[in-house]
Every structure is written in C-alpha cells, then in structure tokens.
C-alpha cells in the first residue's frame, strides 16, 4: 500500500471541500428547476451567500493541481481543451446569471425565475463536465495519455463510465430534498438515493483497480445515513443542519479519493512519479498551513455570523433578491 503523502492529502482535502460546495449547488439546481416556489424560501437564501466561495475553491483546487503535478498540464490542456473551453464559457454564464438574478429589477424581458433556472441548467452542465473529466481520469477509457487525446465516444461506450455519472446525478437529486428540507414524501429521498447509490457504486467498482476497497464503506454509510435520518422526525433536525451535511459530503468524497490512491487511468498509471519537485512541495505545504489557518478562522467567522446569529443558516438577504 502506498503511503499517503501530505501533499496528496491536502489536494484530496481541497477537492473534497470544493465538491461539498458544488454538490450543494447541484442539489439547488434540481430544486430550482422542479420546485421553484419552495426554492425561493429554502434554496436561494442558502446558495446566494456561497456560490462565490464555490468558485474560489475551484480556483484553489486548480492552482493546487498546477503545483502538485505540473508535468500533467500539457496532457490536460491538449486532451480536454474542448471541454475546458466550454466549461469556461458556462462558468462566466453561471456567475452572470446568478448575480443578475440577485439584483435585477422588474421588467418585461426576463424574470428572476428565468435567470435562476438558467443558472440551474448551466450548473447541471458544469457538473456533468466535471464528472466526465474526473471519471475519464479514473477509468482511463477514451484517454490516450501519450498521444494526449480524449475520445468521448469510447468513454461513453464503456457502461461503468455512464453508470457512475448517471448514478451520481440520481443520488444528488435524492439528497437535494434532504439538504434543503423540501416538502416531499419522507421516504422518497431514501428510495432515490439508494437507487443512485447502487448504480454509482457498482459502476465505480468497475472503473478502476480500487486500491483500498474498504474505504468505500464510509461514503456508503454516510450517504445512506442522511435520508434515513430524514425519515425519523426527531433526527430530521440533526441532518438538516447544513454544516453537518456539508461535512458529511466532504468526508465521503475524501474517502472515495483515498480508495483510489495512487491509481489513475483505470489502474494503468499511478500519480506518484508525476509529483512536483520537493523544494516546491515544501513551500506549498507551508503556504497551505498558513493559508489553512487563515481559512479556518474565516470559516469560523462565517459560520458564527451566518449560522449562529441567524439560526436558520440563511443570509439576511435584501427583499428584492428572493422576490
């Protein structure tokens, strides 16, 4: 078993935090599309203060990758350039749509509802692109590392690739009702989540040579626990705590990454020989420790102001934002 290097743990930690944030946006997207009226009270007040932070964590993760494995950048740039550029266009579209939705005045051309739905659709597509890229790096299907190419058809033709993405989408859809406390049949989130989990988990096992299989027990338990607690009225309050829920998502993601390490591309390659020079790793480690302490303090202040002063965990938003 390969030892877990500090820089790998840091990278996995950053990705887990990023994924915890983007997944709450993906859950918000399904609510905005299918239950808009309810979302104006339960979803929008939550996502408005955090969508900027999601973007910041995305950059954090991208830069950490650049420092961790710079020699892989040409491969990523050539193999995935089409998807990266589409992602960039959508990313600007996402930010523009939500900031305009927040501040737009009443007019005949476009409503807040339409803008939030545009944001939701774009978020879905962005989520799909992220899933495709990461699934491709895990399974290696359609990827030719030496030729620096990626063939989408070959990727799609491999069923576990599709199963992992579709299963994850169903899972996110199921958890959305729990996370945002939407008015649905209380058993429905559990049923949908379990279906999504089975499809995603079975597919995941076929994607790669899972190095530490027993690690997957943790995300499986955590994922099922959330909708189960949601069924029990006395435990519902516990799981509707958004800080706890996001921590659960981050932990689950971290252990999924840990189960794969150090394998990538369907077990045909490992990440360790690609890591950056040690002098740079030491400096980025110091920077992460100092920056991490600052981030911890900021997060504490954020939760203190956003959650403990206002127990609902929602922003004191100007009226025009949610109307």
């Amino acid at each position: 078993m390969s030892a877990y290097l500090p820089e790998i743990i840091i990278n996995a930690g950053i990705f887990s935090m990023f994924f915890a944030l983007i997944s709450t946006e993906l859950m918000a997207a399904s609510s905005l599309l299918f239950k808009y009226e309810e979302s104006t009270k339960k979803v929008i007040p939550f996502i408005i203060p955090i969508w900027e932070i999601t973007g910041t964590f995305f950059i954090f993760y991208a830069v950490n990758m650049e420092s961790l494995i710079p020699s892989v950048l040409p491969f990523l740039a050539y193999a995935f350039i089409v998807y990266i550029l589409i992602f960039l266009i959508l990313y600007i579209g996402r930010n523009s749509a939500i900031i305009v939705a927040e501040t737009i005045w009443k007019n005949k051309l476009i409503s807040k509802k339409s803008l939030y739905r545009i944001y939701a659709i774009i978020t879905y597509i962005i989520g799909a692109i992220i899933f495709v890229l990461y699934t491709a790096l895990i399974s290696g299907k359609g990827v030719n590392f030496n030729a620096q190419t990626f063939n989408l058809l070959k990727f799609v033709a491999y069923l576990p690739d599709d199963g992992f993405i579709i299963g994850s989408a169903i899972l996110v859809f199921g958890l959305a009702s729990v996370f945002y406390g939407l008015n649905v049949n209380r058993f429905l989130p559990l049923i949908v989540t379990v279906i999504g989990l089975i499809i995603a988990a079975v597919s995941f096992l076929k994607l790669n040579d899972i190095h530490n299989l027993y690690y997957l027990i943790i995300p499986v338990i955590l994922t099922i626990l959330a909708p189960v607690l949601y069924i029990i009225p006395s435990a519902r309050k516990l799981i509707s705590n958004k800080i706890l829920f996001q921590t659960v998502i981050a932990l689950a993601t971290f252990f999924i990454i840990a189960s794969l390490y150090p394998n990538m591309l369907g077990g045909t390659a490992t990440i360790t020989p690609l890591l950056n020079d040690s002098a740079m790793q030491i400096q980025t480690f110091y920077a992460t420790v100092v920056g991490g302490i600052m981030l911890f303090i900021l997060t504490y202040v954020f939760f203190k102001v956003a959650y403990f002063k206002n127990r609902s965990g929602e922003a004191n938003l100007p009226e025009e934002v949610t109307q």
Binding site: I48, P49, E52, I53, G55, T56, I59, F60, A62, V63, N64, E66, S67, I69, P70, S71, L73, P74, A77, Y78, I81, V82, I84, L85, F87, L88, I89, Y91, I92, G93, R94, N95, S96, I98, I99, V100, T103, W105, N276, D277, A279, M280, Q283, T284, A287, T288, V290, G291, M294, L295, L298, T299, V301, F302, V305, A306, K309, N310, A315, N316
Partner: protein, 473 residues
C-alpha cells in the same frame, strides 16, 4: 492566415484586457468603500454611509464577473500555454498559490460584508471586513504581478541548464517569487491600477453630479468626487515615482525592451535624446520630436552623465519587440503626466474648499476617467508587447509555449464573442442597478437608522442665489 500560436496570443490578450477593465474598478472600489464607510462611522454621516452601501452593490457585480473572468484566465494559462505553466508549476507557482488565499479572504469577507450588512451591531466590526476585502483585493494584484515580474526577469532555477537541456534544476521557489524586478513592478502596477480605478469612479460621480437635480444627490456625489480625487492624486503621484524607478530597472535588466520603448535606434549612447512620438521608417525616425540629452538626464539624473543607454542596434533584429510599444509608452507617460497635473489641480480646489460647480471641471473629470483607462491599458500593452517574442524573458518564446491544437480556434472565438457581450453588459447592469435604487430612496430606507445622521449640506452657489435657502434638506 493567423497561426494558432498567434490566435492563442490574441485570445489571451483579449481576455486579459477585458479582465483588467473590471479588476481596476474592483480594486479601487474595495479601497474606496472601506474609506467611505470609515468616514461614515467616524463622522456618523448618513451620506457617506449611503455612498459606501450603494457602491458595494456595484462592487459585488464586478466581483462576480471578475471572479469568472479571473478563473477563465487561470484555466487559460495552462490550457493555452502548457509548457509555460509546466515551468511555472515547477519554479514559480507560489504567487498563484498565495493569490488563492488572498482571493478566499476577499470572497468570504465580501459575502459577510454584503449579505450580512445589518448583522453587525458594532459598525466598526463591519468596517473591519471592508479592510480585509481591500487587503485581499490588493494582495491578489500583488501576487499576480509577481508572476509577471518572473516572466520579465526570471530567477530561482538554473536557466543555463534549462536552455541547454530543458531540465528544471536548482529550484529555489522563494528566489523565483522575489525576482529582480518584483519590487518596482509590483509597486508600479498596484498604484497604477488604483489610479485608473479611482479616476474611473471619479468620472462616474461627475456624470451623475451633472445629471442630478436634488441637493442630497449632488451632495453624495460630491463626497464621492472628493474621496476619489484625494485617493487618485496620491496614487497617481506614487505611480509616477514607481514608474520612473521601473524604467531604470528595465534599462538594466531588460535593455532591449528599454531600447524599444524609447525607440533608441543606435547601438548605445551617452547623452541620448528623448524621442517624443515618432515611427521608424527605413532606418530613420519620422514624425517624432527629439529633445537632446533628455533621456540620459532622466535615466541617470545628471545633466552630463557619461553612462550610456542601450540601443536597438546592439541586438539582432529578430529579437526586437514590435516598435509600436514606443507609442504606447509615450501615451502612458504623456497621459499619466496630464492626469497627474489635473488631479493636483482638483486637489488644490479641495484644499481651498472650492465646490465643483463649474461644469468644465466636471467634464474634465469625465475625460480624466477615460484617459486613465487608456493610459492604464497602454502601460499594460507596453509591458507585455515589449517582452515579445518571449513569454519568459530570454528563456521561452511565446510560440514555443502555445497550445497548437486546432480546437482552440472555434471555442476561442466563442469565448471572445461571449466576452464582447458580458463585459459591456456588466458595466451597464451595475450602472442600471444603482440608477434604479436612487439615493433619495436609500435615504428614506435609512430613516430609522439611528447610528447615522443627515449632516447639514454646505451651500452651493445655486443655493446661495435662492433667497431663503438654508442649505439643509
């Protein structure tokens, strides 16, 4: 036909140019809002309070789009210039890494500052957030400029070995961060950015002052003008001083770039003339004004120095950057000087407690705001084009670093078109949001706010002409 390498260059330049338009305003706004809120709390002044609150709405819009365009640049760097980012990743990734934390500081504090505006009973606690936002915003600019300084004067690895073999050895990440040009480049870029943003804000206030009919509106905009003038004047003076030092540094560390921006069509020369304007045609300079000895005098601060300034003819022509950088340099220096003089004049008016009632002054402020952007962009073009054909000076050429995948072109065109729509829309939208929520409405909303009061508004000339006017609301 445009090569893919040149397309990459154009796309990068275009997206970066669009991004800095937004960023100059974001940086200036972060400082401006913090100062305005401090004055509001200190003086218990409702007008400063409304000013800071209004501008925060615009700041959030610019931040949202600026974040997106900044993210685009971060991803473009490795997708359009993979070999460049491999070298940066191995030698000089630290400033990017530091920048992320500055960015996190800015974004988390901004979320708290804007969305939880009323959650702070002690207003100084709220104000501290604005200081942290300003620190985060300015430090982001500092760290990104450190990368540019490395591109101009690379250090922190064995360059000779890299050029001979392509191997990256003897990496010293801290030496790469603190490259020889870092100090003066960072100080010049930051002060110039604040200048451009402050004068753009000044133009905005001036236009709205001209349009305003209500006394309280005019008062709020005149407060904005005063703050923008004071901070703009300080920063333009600092930008001039640091720019002067930057040129001396370039003369030593990037002599060919210096020769190009000064249009020195000679080998090297003592008592060199300063050429204002001018184009090099068939080996001679046309349409320029040559002032004997002035360049050497400015460079060495001496009337008869025997030291020489570098000239273009000492270098192979294939390594010359495009010589239009001389014109962009002259635009930057000439325009910057004009800006500085007008800013000093406006500051003089403030010291003498004169009002900005004379319309010519206000139109001048609008022109100043436009000129500031032209000057700022000219400076940026001078720096970037002046380094050509290198992406990292004397180490890696732009062409050798470019992503030559044909897929770049159609999607790159789509991104450019998208930017052409999004950037003007952002400015329009921010202005419209502020226009929709008038100052009068905001003052009414704050009528129950006991922390701040409506101080007496000083009399304007028009007020004095109206019998019985007390100058109060």
């Amino acid at each position: 036909m445009v090569s893919i390498g040149n397309f990459d260059r154009f796309m990068m330049g275009f997206t970066l140019g669009s991004h800095i338009l937004i960023v100059t305003l974001s940086i200036a706004l972060s400082i401006f809002i913090s100062v305005a809120e401090f004055l509001a709390i200190r003086k218990k002044d409702l007008y400063y309070y409304v000013l800071s609150k209004r501008l925060t709405k615009a700041f959030v819009i610019f931040f949202a789009v600026g974040t997106a365009s900044g993210s685009v640049l971060a991803v473009e760097l490795f997708s359009l210039w993979p070999p460049f980012m491999v070298l940066i990743g191995k030698v000089d990734i630290l400033p990017f890494y530091y920048e992320v934390f500055a960015f996190l500081l800015e974004s988390i504090c901004l979320v708290l500052y804007f969305y939880y505006w009323d959650a702070f009973k002690n207003r100084y606690h709220h104000w501290i957030l604005s200081v942290l936002i300003a620190i985060g915003t300015v430090m982001s600019a500092v760290f990104i400029t450190l990368i540019n300084a490395f591109m101009n004067t690379p250090s922190g690895f064995n360059i000779a070995v890299y050029k001979a073999t392509g191997a990256v050895t003897d990496v010293n990440p801290i030496a790469a961060v603190l490259s020889p040009s870092a100090l003066w480049e960072v100080t010049h870029v930051v002060t110039a950015t604040v200048t451009a943003g402050m004068f753009a804000l000044l133009a905005y206030f001036a236009i709205n002052y001209l349009k305003s009919r209500e006394k309280e509106q005019k008062h709020v905009y005149s407060l904005g003008m005063k703050l923008a003038i004071i901070m703009g004047t300080i920063s333009v003076i600092l930008a001039g001083l640091t720019g002067d030092q930057s040129m001396r540094m370039i003369m030593t560390l990037q002599p060919l770039k210096y020769a190009a921006v000064e249009l020195n069509y000679f080998h090297s020369q003592a008592l060199a003339p300063e050429v204002l304007g001018g184009i090099l045609i068939n080996g001679s300079i046309h349409y320029g004004i040559s002032i004997p000895g002035l360049q050497s005098m400015i460079a060495f601060l001496s009337l008869n120095s025997t030291q020489v300034v570098p000239g273009l003819l000492s270098y192979p022509k294939s390594l010359w950057p495009p010589l239009f950088v001389h014109l962009t340099f002259d635009t930057m220096v000439g325009g910057g000087t004009l800006m500085g003089l007008y800013a000093l004049f406006l500051s003089y008016l403030i010291i003498r407690k004169k009002k900005f009632e004379f319309k010519l002054y206000l139109y001048g402020m609008v022109i100043l705001g436009i000129l500031a952007e032209v000057v700022y962009d000219s400076g940026w073009v001078t720096d970037e084009v002046g380094r050509q054909p290198w992406i990292i000076y004397n180490v890696m050429t732009v062409q050798s670093a470019a992503n030559l995948s044909p897929s770049v072109i159609p999607l790159g065109v789509a991104i450019i078109i998208f930017y052409l729509a999004v950037v003007p829309f952002t400015f329009y939208f921010a202005a419209r949001v502020l226009k929709n929520d008038s100052i009068g409405n905001e003052l009414i909303k704050e009528k129950n706010n006991t922390d701040f009061v409506r101080h007496d508004i000083p009399l304007t000339k028009q007020d004095r002409d109206i019998p019985g006017s007390g100058g109060k609301r």
